[in-house]
Every structure is written in C-alpha cells, then in structure tokens.
C-alpha cells in the first residue's frame, strides 16, 4: 500500500523526467487519482499517533498546513471548465517546472511546490517574472555598467575589505575609503591613489574571468543590478566599447609604469593577464593601483621623485642618450666604412678573378660565367641583408644597455661635495673664533671687561682686537685691587685690605706711565675710588700712599699694621739701612 510520501516522490520524478509537455490538468488528474484523503491523512496522523511524544498542537499545525493542499486539489478538480486565464496559469506552471528541471535538478520538491502559492489559485502571482532573472555574472556586469559612480565606491570597499589581509597598502586604502565614507578629510595624494584604484578595480570587474573573484557581492547588490532595465544587446555593445577603452587604459598605464621600451611587450602582457585568472588580475589591480598613485603624485606636482633618484637620473639619463647616440653614430660610421672597404676589396677580387679567368679560361662557356655571377650576387646579397639587420640591431642593443655613471658629471658632483666639505671645515674652524671676537667687541662696548678678557685671552688678535684686550686687561688689573680690598674686608683681613689699596695706588702709577690703550679715564676713576677709601677710612693721602709703597717689606708691613691698629709707627733702623 503506497503512502502519501511515496506518491509525492513519484510525482516529483514524473516532473523531473522532463514531462514539460504534460498539462497541468494531467498532473492534477494524477493528483486526483492519488489515495483518498482519509488514507493519506490517516497515514500522516497514524504516523504521529505512533509517536506519542508529539503533542496535539503539532498535529493541528500539520493539518493546517495540509489544508491548502486540499484546497488546491479541490481547485484543480473544479478547474475542469478552465478559463483561458487558468490555461495561461497552467502553462506558466509548466514553464516553471521545466526551468526547475533544467536549472536545479536536485532541488527540493517542497521548494518547487510552494503550497502557499498554489492555495491562491490566481494567475496574478509573479511567477512569469522569475525566468527573466539574469545570470549572476551578467547581473554583475550590468551593475558595473549601469550603476552610477556612487555605487562604485561601495564595490571597491567590499573588494578591499576582502583583501585586507593580503596587503597592508590595501588595508590603508580601505581605511581611507572608510574615512571618506564618514566624510573625514584625506590627503590629496591618497585620494588620487584611491581614484586610480577605483578605475583599475572597475577594470577587474569587467573581466569575466574575475567574476568568481567578486562572489563577495551581496544578494542585494545582485537584485539591484537586476533592477536596471537596459536591454542585453545594448549592454553587450556598451560592454565591448568599455572593455576596449579599459584595455587601452591598461596599456597606457603599463607603458607609463614600465617605460616606452616595453610598449610592444605590454600588449602581450595585457593579453596574457586577461587570459590568466584571478591572481593575475589581482596583481594587475595592484600594479595599476601603484601606477595610479604615481600618476596622481606626478599630477599633484613636487613630491614626485626623491633627491637621490633625481640625482641619479641627472647623472645617468643624458649619458645614456649620449651613449645611444654615439653608439648609433659609431655603428653607422663603422658599418659604412667596413661595408665600403669590403665592397672595394670584393671589386678588386672580382677584377682579379675576371682577369685571371679571362686569361686562363677564355674557352669557358658564357653560361657557366652567368651561373657563377648569379651565385656570387646571391651570396653578396645575403651578407648585405645580414649586415643591415645587424646595423638595425646594434643601436637598439646599445640603447638597452644599463645606465653608466658619467665621468664628467661625477667629477662635477665630487667637486660640488668637496666645496661643501671645505666650506664646512672653514666655517667650523673660523666661525667660533669670529663669534668670540664679535662677542668680545659687544662686551667691550657694554663695559664688561671681564668677558672681553676671557674671550680674547690666548688668541691671535689683530690690532683692533689687541687694543680692546689690553685696555680690558689694564682696567681689570686696577679694578682687581679694589675688589681685593673688598674681599679682605669681608674676610676680616684689614691689613690685607689696606695692602690691596696701597697696591692699587702703586699699580695706577705703573699703568698710567705706559700706554693705557685709551683707558686713562677709567683708570683715573678707579684711582679716585681707591684714594677716597684711603683718605676717608685710614686718613692716608695719595702722596703718603706713594711714600709707604717705597718702604722695605718689613717697614711696609709694620706701617700697615700701625695704620690698621691706630698705633704709632717708628721706622726700624736696620730695615732703613737695608732699604737704603
């Protein structure tokens, strides 16, 4: 006894066996021939009764789910007098089934027979629209072509998100894109870089081989792409045009990146990259991104090339050109001379041979001579062609030679560096001394003789600096006596303090007797200060001070003690005799 499940299986098989020609009526008749409802329901309910652990609620739900099926059955049964609308609906159902067989042979039967749709029993449902859903790759292409520029950024971000782990640069670009999405500012260079990436990424999208690469696109994107209503022929034409443009762009970029020499090979490379799969496209994408960055930087202006690269270009480029030109000239001259020499030699040989032949082989036939002449002419032509080919190849090879440093420019560079080093050495040696002298002059005009003395001590001085130094020296010498007096008074050494004043008077007369270097006024001022202290504090006039300074050491010391202590001073006889 067949159950409902078995019957459904058989029905599915019948549908999957490409029974597209069968009408819905026949299918429904088969359904009507199915076991009775009681048996079917009994079978299900019997199954659930045999499993007491399931509750009544579940059974109710199942019955509710089965109700529409019953309704459709009744509907189909009632449809014997089917209207034209119903016929169309049946045909559309057949189409659905046929497409389901063709596309998803392993599809779930429950999915195909959506009982909820059947329950409506109306032809107004959207089933006829389903076959018009384009294939995913086509939809992708359509989106790329039909979507406005705003959607491109989203695609780029998705792509870069997928490649975050592959490259740090792309991660940076992704971060910048995110910043741009969040309306944060970005550097112009980086924006230019991103623009380059966008263009290249669109190139990658257009590549049909790379479609599987972009399976990361969400279904919503695909739906959006399907929603654009451009017709397929127009799209294909546009696709071709855009592909052609993009290929041109690729070639141009690669020619910019790899230089002019590789122009010819780039076309082949582009073809190879198109033929190869996603890895190559990724590499191309990255290369193009770099190229785009370079272009953007070049467009932006100053930050194009580093100093050393510019220097190397300066040193090498023109040399290369010169070499190539020289090489071409040499090749041309050399080959011309060589060819002329060889031609003259051959002419001579010919003449000699002809002469010999004319003398020795006068009896020879004309035909043999003609044959020989032809062979010779052929043999001559071949080397000439070879020479021409060599001539053409030689300059090219020389152009391709590696860059060589120009000796002239190298010498210029060395001379430039030497002058810089020499100037640095000169400045390092003379600049500190110059600075010291300048500071000494400034200090002198400010009256800071101590600084002048320190800065100019033990240095080679010109006349003006020597005057400044000596003037500071003599002023400081007298000033130091006054300071010594103050020090000794502070240290509670009154005898030494008076001694300092006495030495100051002596020093003044010594200094004023010689060249004062224009410091007479300053010396006089200091001398007046010393004399004032002697007069006011100790009652000693300048004349008395000069007289005391003339004493011998012992008398001098006794006199100073008597001045400080206020005792009477008597000149010792012995000491006066010694002093005399």
């Amino acid at each position: 006894m067949a159950t409902d499940e078995e019957y459904l299986d058989s029905l599915l098989k019948s549908m999957t066996d490409n029974e597209s020609n069968r009408s819905m009526e026949e299918v429904m008749r088969d359904v009507s021939k199915a076991p009775k409802e009681d048996e079917a329901s009994f079978g299900v309910e019997d199954f659930f009764e045999s499993s007491p652990e399931l509750g009544d609620d579940i059974l109710e739900n199942i019955s509710l789910m089965e109700d529409p099926v019953i309704e459709t059955d009744s509907g189909s049964a009632d449809g014997e007098d089917a209207s034209p609308e119903q016929d169309e609906w049946k045909l559309s159902l057949d189409d659905i089934l046929a497409q389901a067989d063709a596309q998803t042979s392993e599809a779930d039967a429950d999915g195909l027979f959506d009982t909820s749709d059947w329950g409506d029993g109306e032809p107004s449902m959207d089933i006829p629209d389903i076959p018009e859903i384009p294939d995913i790759p086509e939809a992708l292409e359509e989106t790329q072509e039909a979507e406005p520029a705003d959607t491109d950024d989203m695609d780029v971000t998705d792509l870069i998100d997928s490649m975050d782990n592959t490259d740090m640069d792309l991660a940076e670009i992704n971060g910048l894109l995110k910043r741009a999405d969040s309306k944060e500012s970005a550097d112009d260079d980086m924006l230019a870089l991103l623009e380059g990436v966008d263009v290249d990424q669109m190139d990658a999208f257009s590549d049909p081989d790379a479609d599987s690469e972009f399976s990361i696109f969400s279904e919503s994107d695909l739906e959006k792409s399907a929603s654009y209503g451009s017709s397929l022929p127009e799209q294909t034409d546009k696709k071709k045009e855009k592909k052609a443009k993009k290929e041109k762009k690729k070639k141009e970029k690669k020619s910019k990146i790899f230089g002019k020499k590789k122009k010819d090979t780039d076309a082949d490379l582009v073809e190879q990259t198109e033929d190869t799969a996603q890895d190559v496209n990724l590499d191309g994408l990255l290369n193009n991104a770099e190229g785009g960055a370079e272009e953007s930087v070049n467009e932006s202006g100053d930050k194009k090339v580093g100093f050393f690269s510019r220097m190397m270009n300066y040193l090498m480029e023109e040399e290369e050109e010169e070499e190539s030109l020289d090489g071409a000239k040499e090749a041309a001259d050399g080959t011309g001379e060589e060819s002329d020499k060889k031609a003259s030699k051959k002419d001579k040989k010919k003449k000699n041979k002809k002469g010999k032949k004319g003398k020795d082989q006068e009896e020879g036939s004309d035909e043999e001579l003609d044959e020989e002449a032809e062979e010779k002419s052929k043999s001559k032509k071949k080397p000439k062609r070879e020479k021409k080919e060599k001539k053409e190849k030689q300059p090219k090879e020389k152009v391709k030679t590696e860059r060589v440093l120009s000796t002239k420019k190298l010498l210029v560079l060395i001379a430039f560096c030497a002058t810089i080093i020499a100037s640095i050495l000169v400045f390092s040696t003379f600049l500190p001394e110059y600075a010291d002298k300048k500071n000494a002059n400034d200090a002198f005009y400010e009256g800071d003789y101590e600084t002048v003395y320190k800065l100019l001590y033990n240095k080679q001085l010109n006349s003006s600096d020597a005057i400044i130094f000596n003037r500071a020296r003599i002023v400081l010498k007298l000033e130091r006596k006054l300071q010594s007096y103050e020090n000794n008074m502070t240290l509670n050494r009154p005898v030494e303090a008076v001694d300092a004043l006495m030495q100051g008077v002596k020093c003044y007369y010594e200094l004023s007797g010689a060249d004062t270097y224009g410091a007479g006024d300053e010396l006089n001022a200091l001398y007046q200060q010393i004399c004032a202290i002697l007069q006011n504090n100790y009652g000693i006039t300048p004349e008395e001070a000069v007289e005391i300074n003339a004493y011998d050491n012992v008398s001098y010391t006794m006199k100073l003690n008597s001045i400080v202590n206020g005792t009477a001073f008597s000149m010792p006889e012995d000491t006066t005799a010694e002093s005399e």
């Binding site: 033990n458 130091r480 300071q483 010594s484 020090n487 008074m489 502070t490 300092a500």
Partner: protein, 210 residues
Amino acid sequence: MTAIIDYDAGNIKSVEKALLKLGEKAVITRDREVILGADRVILPGVGAFGDAMHKLRAYGLEEVICEVVHRGIPFLGICLGLQLMFERSEESKGVKGLGLLKGEIVRIPDKDGIKVPHIGWNSLKFPNKGRLFQGIPEDSYVYFVHSYYLQAEDADIVTASTEYGTLIHASVEKGNVFACQFHPEKSSQVGLTILKNFIGIEPFYKTAEE
C-alpha cells in the same frame, strides 16, 4: 733638566723664567721621549678643566704623564695642573681627569663680599709638612688665581691649605707627585723657595737603581 709640558696652556713662560732664575735647565716640550727622559716634570696651566684634558688627550700626553708618575719621576702640577691630576671637576662635568690622585674639584662658594675668582695673595697653613714647604714659615703668602678648588679625598696628602670663604686644599703630596693650587712662579720669594725644594727632589727610579 726639568720638562715643562706644553699643551697650549698659559703660564708656561713664567714657570720657565722662574726655573731659569733658580739656575735650573728647563725645556718646554710635548715630546714623549723628552718628557720621560727629564729629571722632573712640571704640568702648568691656566684655563678650563675640560679644554685642558682634551688637549692633553689630543697630544697623547695623558699616557705620558701616567708613565712619568709610574716611573717615579718627580711630577709637579701647578694651578690647573693640580686640578687635572684629580678625577673630575665641576667646571667640566662628564670629563674625566688624569685620576692620579683621589678627590674632586668644586667651585668656590658664592658669599657676600667674596669675589670669585680667588685672585691675589693668601696665606698658607700646613696641616701636613711636605717636602715642598721646607724652610717656609706658616702663614706665608702665595699668589692665587682660581675659581675652583680642591677637595682631596685623602686628607693625609694635603700639605698646605688656605681660607677663602671655605677651606681650600692648596697643596698635596703623594710619593713623587706634588701639586699646588697657587702659583709659586708668581709668589715671590716663597714661590721660588717652593720651586727650589721641588728641584731638589731626586727621582725614585734613581734611588731604586742605587
């Protein structure tokens, strides 16, 4: 013969004159062999600690001085020469001295009424009687010019001191090494006596040979 080390420092000529006045043959030199062949060596100096050390090293005299001391040749440092014989100085932080003796050079403290540098005559005290000061009474005056002064680690090596706001170790003596912060060549008769005493000291290596 007494060698006066020439390392572009000042106050060399006055030392030479003083020695000549005492009847001693003096040679101003930086030649290694001449210095090592001398009976006595004097390291004079006026200037900054760091610059002087750089000069000594630049001329390769640091090793020569150490060898002089190692050989037992009498060695006298004057003023900056004394400071260079110690380990370090506040004047040039981070610059190592010759390190022949232990101690450091510090700046004379600023006090009211006391001028720095210390310039002029000042009297000496003799905590330990040294060979340089034989025949010189205490409180004798010698001539000072300096802003930094010695604080010797070992007080036993201090043979003369003075007061200038603080206690200044004015002279030290250890073995064949002698040093004075004051200027004996500018200190009149007392200074000449000090130099005469130094000339009279025989090298150690000669006594060892004997």
